[in-house]
């Protein structure tokens, strides 16, 4: 077990290194000069060159990468070109807002998605299944940015129930969280349905029924408990999906999280911030995957690592 965790951590380090190297090279090979973008249009060639020297962009790539790695080992992610403040500080400022939005969306999709999936499985092939899976396929097909605008159109512009954009009160959270949770809700209900269908075909369910337990007890006690593994799997998958979806949702609702931050960073060619953010995302996703795998062992003692 300890050996397994150590091995996974080793693999994670390799993955992070590859991500760092790939992103580092890709953004530097691409056209576009951050120094040029940072200075006003009227800046002279000499001024641009001076700034390139100050940012270290005039040095050979291996040297630049060496500096980057050295700072990284000291847990220093660098200084943002655009904000001119430490990158860690910028991400630290924006990420809690994204985490709030993503967290609320995750809870919302679990609270609705799990019951929907269970009902669909229990009523397989009947109207309830049809309706629930209809919702799911709609949730997976609707472009979330458009869904966001449609919600604004109806609930902000027509009924004036919720603000169109921004942050601050709980009312600001309602439309963005609904928008962001649409896809994960669909994902969760579909996977819960197929997980539940598998469970309902197991011997212990037949045993529980044969000994005369009520159907509700069979499903809630014997079915639901064993559903934890598919639920943990899908929550793990959802983290990456929500992070990606937050970029779009934040663009629709002007929600000042990491999604808006990365859009600004890419257009300003803010190399340190782009590098740090992609590494941060990879770190979060890899950690979540590791936690999910460890949870399997805890949830199902039959699983050996």
């Amino acid at each position: 077990m300890t050996l397994y965790i150590l091995k996974r951590l080793g693999q994670a380090l390799v993955a992070m290194f590859v991500v760092a190297l790939a992103v580092f090279l890709l953004i530097r090979w691409a056209p576009g000069d951050p120094a040029r973008l940072m200075l006003p249009e009227t800046a002279s060639k000499e001024e641009v060159e001076a700034l390139r020297v100050r940012l270290g962009l005039d040095r050979p790539l291996p040297v630049q990468f060496g500096w980057f790695l050295k700072d990284l080992v000291n847990l220093d992610l660098g200084t943002s070109f655009f904000y001119n403040r430490p990158v860690a500080e910028i991400i630290g400022l924006h990420f809690p807002r994204t985490a709030l939005l993503g967290g609320v969306s995750l809870v919302l999709s679990l609270v609705i998605g799990i019951p929907l999936g269970i009902i669909a499985a229990v009523k397989e092939g009947r109207l309830a299944d049809f309706v629930a899976m209809g919702f799911a396929v709609i949730g997976q097909s609707v472009p979330i940015f458009w869904l966001g605008f449609m919600l604004v159109l109806v609930f902000s512009i027509k009924f004036h129930w919720f603000p169109t954009s921004g942050t601050g009160t709980w009312q600001h959270l309602v439309l963005p969280a609904t928008t962001l949770s649409a896809f994960t809700m669909a994902l969760i209900s579909r996977l819960v349905r197929s997980g539940m269908l598998d469970i309902l075909g197991e011997d212990y369910i037949r045993t529980a029924r044969a000994k005369g337990l009520s159907e509700a007890l069979v499903i809630l006690r014997h079915g639901f408990r064993n559903l934890m593994i598919p639920v943990v799997t899908v929550v793990g998958m959802s983290v990456g999906v929500l992070l990606a979806g937050s970029v779009v949702t934040e663009a629709v609702f002007a929600w000042p999280g990491v999604g808006l931050m990365i859009m600004t960073a890419v257009s300003a060619r803010d190399y340190p911030l782009i590098q740090a953010f992609t590494l941060f995302v990879a770190f979060v996703v890899i950690c979540v995957n590791l936690i999910v795998d460890l949870l399997y062992v805890y949830l199902d003692p039959r699983i050996r690592l």
């Binding site: 691409a30 396929v137 097909s141 940015f145 605008f149 197929s194 782009i274 996703v285």
Partner: protein, 289 residues
């Protein structure tokens, strides 16, 4: 010898069973309508999708009683026309991306599954690493760097999505390689190329087609999302995602500008997903994808 007539009637039965699946039929019908609209766009609408007319800007949908079926946008361009031409872009980009990422993923999956060992572990690690960054974030970073163009978006999306084919094919080849069929083929001295094409690939078409359909829907959504964010299709080409983004400034006064292009994305994706789900249930009754 195989009886030819029997084979044909088997096939007929299969087609009949597909046609009895409502999701495949309705989804397929919508896709056919969209394809028809995309191909015959110039004949279906007399309006030039790029022609601006500031005198008729932001006109409300007129239905069949006026010249602008779905109204006009902020530059006076006909929205119906733009949606038809946008279908060309979305469907072409989706189709090409699926083909390119499919070819890359299937080939690498075959190699990994066949050669195992080092080849497999290197390719699998690469897939894992790429999966650790969500596709949209990867695509935004890449596209913002190389700049928006139709070619760039196809390449970036293809590179970001090969892993799904790879993982599927790899695991299927693993199980196929354990079957006596492969041993038999080797014993009679089948060449490696023939083994790949006739023995491995020939047995993989069904799952590949199902995954391709599901991928197509996802890729159309991804392209629309990237175009909406301004890093996908360039603004000069009519695309559904960009139309939504251009309509957002007029959402309070002209709801139709933003509503119809988004509806087009939704309907196209929904139809393809319906077909994908229908095919999956049909071809794999255990529903375990």
């Amino acid at each position: 010898m195989l009886d030819n007539r029997k084979v044909i009637s088997e096939r007929k039965k299969k087609i009949q069973r597909i046609l009895r699946n409502p999701r495949i039929v309705w989804g397929g019908l919508v896709i056919v309508v969209l394809l028809f609209g995309a191909v015959f766009a110039p004949y279906l609408s007399s309006k030039d999708p790029l022609k601006q007319n500031l005198l008729s800007r932001l006109m409300a949908p007129q239905g069949f009683s006026g010249p602008h079926l779905l109204g006009t946008d902020s530059l006076g361009r006909d929205i119906f026309s733009r949606i038809l031409y946008g279908a060309r872009i979305s469907l072409t980009v989706g189709f090409l991306t699926v083909i390119i990422s499919g070819v890359i993923g299937v080939m690498l999956g075959l190699f990994a599954g066949y050669y195992k060992g080092k080849t497999d572990s290197i390719l699998s690690r690469a897939a894992d690493i790429q999966l650790s960054i969500p596709v949209i974030i990867m695509a935004i970073v890449l596209l913002a760097m190389v700049g928006p163009s139709v070619f760039n978006i196809i390449m970036v999306m293809a590179i970001s999505r090969w892993m799904l084919y790879f993982r599927l094919v790899r695991s299927l080849v693993f199980s196929l390689m354990a079957s006596p069929m492969i041993d038999a083929a080797r014993v009679i001295g089948v060449s490696r190329r023939r083994l790949f094409v006739k023995h491995l690939l020939a047995n993989l078409w069904t799952p590949i087609i199902v995954v391709t359909t599901q991928q197509m829907a996802q890729i159309i959504l991804l392209e629309a999302t990237l175009s909406f964010l301004g890093v996908g299709i360039p603004p000069s080409v009519p695309s559904w995602g960009m139309m939504v983004s251009q309509g957002r400034n007029y959402i309070e006064t002209a709801w139709w500008v933003i509503t119809f292009p988004g509806l087009a994305i939704f309907v196209a994706t929904l139809a393809i997903n319906f077909v994908g789900d229908g095919l999956r249930d049909f071809l794999d009754p255990r529903r375990r994808f």
